[in-house]
Each structure stands twice: as structure tokens, then as C-alpha cells.
């Protein structure tokens, strides 16, 4: 036996995982290391024979009873889509209105809307995307159209009427 030459256990097991290496070669010759490997092999055999215990037979029924009281997951998806859509629209509207104070004229307002509108078109798209995958496409389109129309109306108003700071 040559204890001072024995490899680190972590190295030995790493090589065992790979299937070859100098530490394994050493173990083949060394009584102490062979004993460790044999012990390890036996323990692994036992570990592999362990099985997950069976869950209580009532588990599935209990889960399903609670699931029945929950809203359908896709509903949430639709509502989160609507929430994203509304948030982006309100955000976009606020952004446009605020910037509009600096741009006095309606024409410039429209021009800026075209440019900045991209930001909010992205918002609409992200919201609409959630709805697109669901059956709510028609709802989304109508909603977006209504909101856009009212937004454009507001935009026009904001463009024509002087803002309080200008008055």
C-alpha cells in the first residue's frame, strides 16, 4: 500500500465518471483505493434501487378540485394582454401629449406622432401578440382600433388647442 501516492477522492471519482485516468490506474493497483471504489459501487447500486414513494391516492383529486375553482389560464393571458395593451396606449398617449407642448403646430404634431408612434406601435404589438395566440384577435383589433381613433382625436385636439402653459 502506498498511502502518500493515493489520489484525491474527487479526482478519482471524476475519472470514474469519465472511465479512465491515472487515478483509476492507481486504484487498480492500490488496495485502499479499490476498497473505496467498491464501497462506492455498492452504495450507488443501492441508491439506484431507491424509488420515489407513491403520493397519497387523493393527490390528483385534491389538485383538480382546487383547479376547478381557478379561472382558465388563457383568460389570464387575454387579460394580461389587454393590460399590456392599455398600459402601452396610456403610456404612449402621455408621452405624445407631453412632447406636444414643445411642438406647437398640428403638422409637427402629426410628424412627431409618426416617429414616436413607432414606440407605441411596439407596445400595441406586444399587447396584441398575447391576444393573437388566443381567440381574442377580433377583440384586440377592435380595441386597438377604437383606442387609436380616440387617440388620434385627442391628438388633433391637443395639436389645435393651446396648452395651458402656452396660454
Amino acid at each position: 500500500m502506498t498511502p502518500h501516492l493515493c489520489p484525491d477522492l474527487e479526482v478519482l471519482f471524476a475519472e470514474l465518471e469519465e472511465g479512465e485516468g491515472p487515478a483509476l490506474d492507481h486504484a487498480a493497483e492500490c488496495e485502499a483505493c479499490s476498497a473505496v471504489l467498491e464501497e462506492h459501487r455498492l452504495m450507488e447500486n443501492d441508491l439506484y434501487r431507491l424509488a420515489d414513494p407513491l403520493p397519497p391516492p387523493t393527490l390528483v383529486a385534491s389538485v383538480m378540485a382546487r383547479v376547478a375553482a381557478e379561472p382558465i389560464p388563457q383568460r389570464r393571458e387575454v387579460w394580461s394582454g389587454v393590460a399590456i395593451l392599455l398600459t402601452s396606449l396610456v403610456g404612449g398617449l402621455g408621452y405624445l401629449l407631453m412632447n406636444d407642448q414643445a411642438l406647437g403646430r398640428f403638422g409637427t404634431g402629426v410628424a412627431s406622432f409618426v416617429v414616436e408612434g413607432r414606440l407605441f406601435a411596439e407596445g400595441i404589438l406586444s399587447g396584441a401578440h398575447a391576444l393573437w395566440s388566443t381567440a381574442g384577435l377580433a377583440v384586440a383589433t377592435t380595441l386597438a382600433f377604437l383606442l387609436l381613433t380616440s387617440l388620434l382625436g385627442l391628438k388633433r385636439l391637443a395639436g389645435n388647442v393651446p396648452t395651458p402653459s402656452e396660454a
Partner: protein, 191 residues
């Protein structure tokens, strides 16, 4: 056009469950209930708590189904939810009382056990379970996922949210601790 990716057996059920088909979700629950409960019991070591956590984890899976990326294995996703709930509970438990964890009384299923499973339930297996029960939750978890559930280190890394290399090292350390517990008189010559 042939799909490169392997088939995702859970995908159809997930999509149907999202549309509100309860039987689709039920079949998902059936497919994962055993590993989910098994992991919870290994971590919590109390049957009543494990059953409760398993139930909660499956309910949360349902509630968050719209957030789940169905290109990832469904079972690993639910196992990650289960694990987080268990760790929360363990944290609360140690906060409430710094009591020594009771070793698992009975991990073998009481009813519905096949003759073969009964035969495997040897004295050695009992003592292995006992030795495992004295390890830390972290060690039990990695051993249970690797040996009992036969997960790869990559899969375990997904459940535990860390690098696969970390799992290998953790597995080694857990195995070493277990080996020492299983060996009454450790041979110092190997060192």
C-alpha cells in the same frame, strides 16, 4: 419539413389545459405527481407537509401555465416550483424552531406496493434511507434527483437553477457524506 427538435410529449396537454380543458391538466398532474411528491418528501421528510406542498406546487403550475415556456420539460418546471416551495417551508421551519429534523419514518409506500418492490425493501435499503435522512436538504435533494429520479446533471441544474458543473461537485460531496455515514469504521488509509 421535418422537425429537428425531439417531440415534446407534454405540449399538447399544456396547450389544451391553457384553453381550459381540465382532463388535459389532470393527465399532466398524473404524469408528474410521483416525482413531485417524492422530491417534496425527500426535502421535507414529513408526509403531510409533502402532500400539501405537492398539491400547492401543482396548483401554482396551473395558475402560471400561461407563463410556462413549453419548449422546456414540464416535469422539470414543476419540480423547480416544488423545490422552491419546500425550501421556503424549510427556511420558515428553522426560523420557528431550531429543532433536529426527524428522520423519515417510512419512505416506502404503504399500499399498492408490488411484490418486487417489497423484495427490494431490504435492511440495507432501510439503512441507506436512514443515512440519507441525516444529510442536509441540499445533499438529499441532489441525491434524490440523480439516483432516485435518474435525472442528468443538466436536468438537475435546470431544477436547481445553477450550472451543471456545480451539480457534479455537489453530487460528489453528498455521496461522500453518505458513504461515510454508511461505513461505521471509515478507512483512513484511503486518505
Amino acid at each position: 419539413m421535418a422537425e429537428e427538435a425531439p417531440p415534446l410529449p407534454w405540449k399538447a396537454d399544456v396547450q389544451a389545459a391553457r384553453r381550459g380543458d381540465p382532463s388535459a391538466f389532470e393527465s399532466l398532474v398524473r404524469s408528474v405527481q410521483r416525482p413531485v411528491y417524492g422530491l417534496a418528501l425527500r426535502l421535507l421528510q414529513r408526509e403531510a407537509e409533502a402532500a400539501e406542498v405537492a398539491q400547492e406546487a401543482l396548483l401554482r403550475a396551473y395558475q402560471n401555465l400561461h407563463r410556462y415556456d413549453d419548449s422546456r420539460p414540464f416535469d422539470l418546471w414543476v419540480l423547480a416550483i416544488t423545490r422552491n416551495l419546500c425550501l421556503d417551508l424549510l427556511r420558515r421551519r428553522t426560523k420557528v424552531k431550531t429543532e433536529e429534523l426527524e428522520p423519515m419514518k417510512e419512505v416506502l409506500p404503504s399500499g399498492d406496493v408490488s411484490q418486487l418492490e417489497r423484495a427490494i425493501a431490504t435492511e440495507e435499503r432501510q439503512s441507506l434511507e436512514e443515512a440519507m435522512a441525516t444529510l442536509s436538504a441540499e445533499d438529499r435533494e441532489v441525491l434524490a434527483l440523480y439516483y432516485v429520479q435518474k435525472r442528468t446533471t443538466k436536468e438537475i441544474a435546470q431544477v436547481m437553477g445553477c450550472a451543471p458543473g456545480t451539480i457534479m461537485a455537489r453530487l460528489f460531496r453528498a455521496r461522500e457524506k453518505l458513504r461515510k455515514k454508511m461505513t461505521p469504521a471509515p478507512e483512513e488509509a484511503a486518505r
